[in-house]
């Protein structure tokens, strides 16, 4: 097992009075695909959003505990939130292209930092699009609006947009819900290739996908971590009855 990229210590998270995450402790190893599975409303999206502090954007939330990225608490004062978010990218559950061209979408994050040298980061854009398995489909029309792409292409564009920043961790929140099988397969393929360079934390849209792509799997229910382990262990011999109920489809 690789060294731990992210260590979560006694995490509690609240939306006003409602607690979404309860006493969560979790180690996420570097350069692996880590899946967090569980029924809706288990706190999985919240967990992902705490990892790059997107949760800060929601008013009325409160967080307790620590999240260490390379052994530094991302909620400490010294951390720059904008830098953190570049190191830890986020792909949303629905494709969210910005209303601009394909190229500008991928270059968006790059341009936020490289203001002074005005050179268009063509190479970075191409690399990112290749990594997201989209380059061949869009290389002829980088200037067309991103909204003109199909849903699956849009989602790969969103992945490329994150990858263009060369992040260390990529968070994917049910990235394949509502996508066609081909796009889903392409995203899964990209992720498997990508984990050589980045740590991937994904909330898969079903247990089959989790089984296909994960190195490790965590099962969450009602904001609690029920079970966590290597892919094969969790799926072939779950220790907790609730886990086996969930993966065999008996609830959720």
């Amino acid at each position: 097992m690789n060294r731990n990229k992210i260590i979560i210590k006694d995490l509690n998270f609240y939306y006003d009075d409602k607690q979404a995450i309860r006493d969560l402790r979790l180690n996420i190893p570097a350069n692996e695909v880590f899946s967090v599975i569980g029924p809706a409303n288990s706190g999985i999206t919240t967990l992902l959003r705490t990892l790059n502090r997107l949760c800060d954007l929601t008013p009325g939330t409160r967080i307790e505990g620590e999240i260490l990225l390379d052994n530094k608490n991302i909620y400490s004062e010294e951390i720059s939130i904008t830098e953190l978010r570049r190191r830890v990218g986020f792909v949303f559950d629905v494709p969210t292209p910005l209303p601009m061209s394909i190229f500008d979408n991928v270059a968006y994050g790059l341009r936020l930092v490289r203001r002074k040298n005005k050179k268009t980061p063509l190479e970075s854009v191409e690399t990112a699009l290749r990594q997201a398995a989209l380059w061949d489909e869009v290389k002829e029309r980088l200037k067309s609006p991103a909204m003109s792409l199909s849903g699956g292409q849009q989602q790969r564009l969103c992945l490329a947009r994150v990858l263009a920043l060369e992040p260390e961790v990529v968070l994917l929140d049910r990235p394949c819900s509502g996508l066609d099988p081909i796009s889903t397969a392409k995203i899964e393929e990209s992720l498997t290739e990508l984990k050589k360079q980045v740590t991937i934390i994904i909330s898969p849209h079903n247990t089959q996908q989790a089984a296909r792509i994960s190195d490790r799997v965590a099962f969450m229910l009602d904001g609690r971590l029920i079970e966590e382990g290597a892919n094969i262990e969790v799926f072939s011999s779950p220790k907790d009855k609730r886990t086996s109920d969930y993966i065999t489809g008996r609830f959720g």
Partner: protein, 279 residues
């Protein structure tokens, strides 16, 4: 209550909606055509480039045109930073609280006040207390205050209409608040903001009561913003009310309509040219 079958109700609804819409359009077109019909014959190069003589009985309407443009431009230039700034503050930089409620309450109250009250305020405050006299500046300041509520409300609505996901995406890619506003929010909101500006321009151009009390009715060529100048709306009001010249009143009205139309078209062209790319 008579129960209609869905098919008849559908037809009836369609018929009523179409009739109402057509009637409204017909009235609007009638007004425009009527004024242009009565006014266009007066408009020629001299009408547009000569200073009015004998109170507007003769000569052109050059000074009212200049008066309208300068008062309006000044009002918009003054109102724009405050109006749009307030809108961004309300929509992006603050949560709903006492302060925002006060601002909203004030803007809504201001929006409901008749323009003559603004004129009276402008007359007492700008013309007399600040001693700016009847001038383009007094008129511009008064109109700026008058259009602020419109500008704030339309801009705020435009900003709020930008999908939340754009902001989240921008933040998630390491954008700061300002970068997010500038690069993800403004491009999508600009159309609505410009529409608010056009609406405000329209109100300034058309305003009579507030400017007559603040910018005055002078027909001579203004040399600076501290000089009095009448606007086109004031000019044709005077022409009609004092029975000076109906023909020239229609001519002025026609020029006004064409001007507003022109501003609309140009603004839309600019938006399409510079903003609507990539969507």
């Amino acid at each position: 209550m008579i129960k209609l079958n869905p098919h008849t109700a559908e037809k009836l609804a369609k018929g009523v909606i179409w009739t109402v819409a057509l009637m409204v359009i017909a009235v609007l077109i009638f007004i425009i055509v009527f004024i242009l019909y009565r006014g266009l014959s007066v408009i020629n190069w001299e009408f547009l480039t000569r200073i009015p003589r004998r109170s507007g009985r003769e000569g052109g309407i050059l000074t009212p045109i200049i008066g309208t443009l300068s008062v309006t431009l000044l009002a918009i230039l003054i109102a724009m930073p405050f109006g749009i700034g307030t809108a961004f503050y309300l929509a992006e930089y603050t949560k709903d609280g006492i302060l925002t409620r006060i601002i909203r309450f004030c803007t809504e109250s201001l929006a409901g006040i008749p323009s003559i009250i603004y004129g009276l305020f402008g007359f007492i405050f700008f013309v007399q207390i600040l001693d700016l006299k009847w001038s383009i500046l007094s008129g511009g300041l008064t109109l700026a205050i008058m259009v602020l509520p419109t500008l704030i409300r339309t801009s705020e609505e435009a900003i709020r209409a930008v999908p939340k996901t754009y902001r989240e995406v921008s933040f998630s890619l390491g954008g700061t608040k300002w970068q997010t506003i500038r690069k993800a929010v403004v491009p999508s909101a600009i159309r609505g903001i410009v529409n608010g500006l056009i609406l405000s321009v329209g109100r300034c151009v058309a305003e009579t009561a507030a400017v007559i009390l603040t910018a005055g009715v002078s027909l001579s060529m203004p040399k600076s913003v501290l000089d009095s100048s009448r606007t086109m709306a004031v000019h044709f009001y005077q022409l009609v009310i004092e029975g000076i010249s109906m023909t020239n009143a229609y001519g002025t009205a026609a020029v006004l309509i064409i001007l507003v139309f022109f501003i609309n078209v140009v603004a839309n062209m600019l938006i399409n040219r510079f903003v609507a790319k990539g969507r």
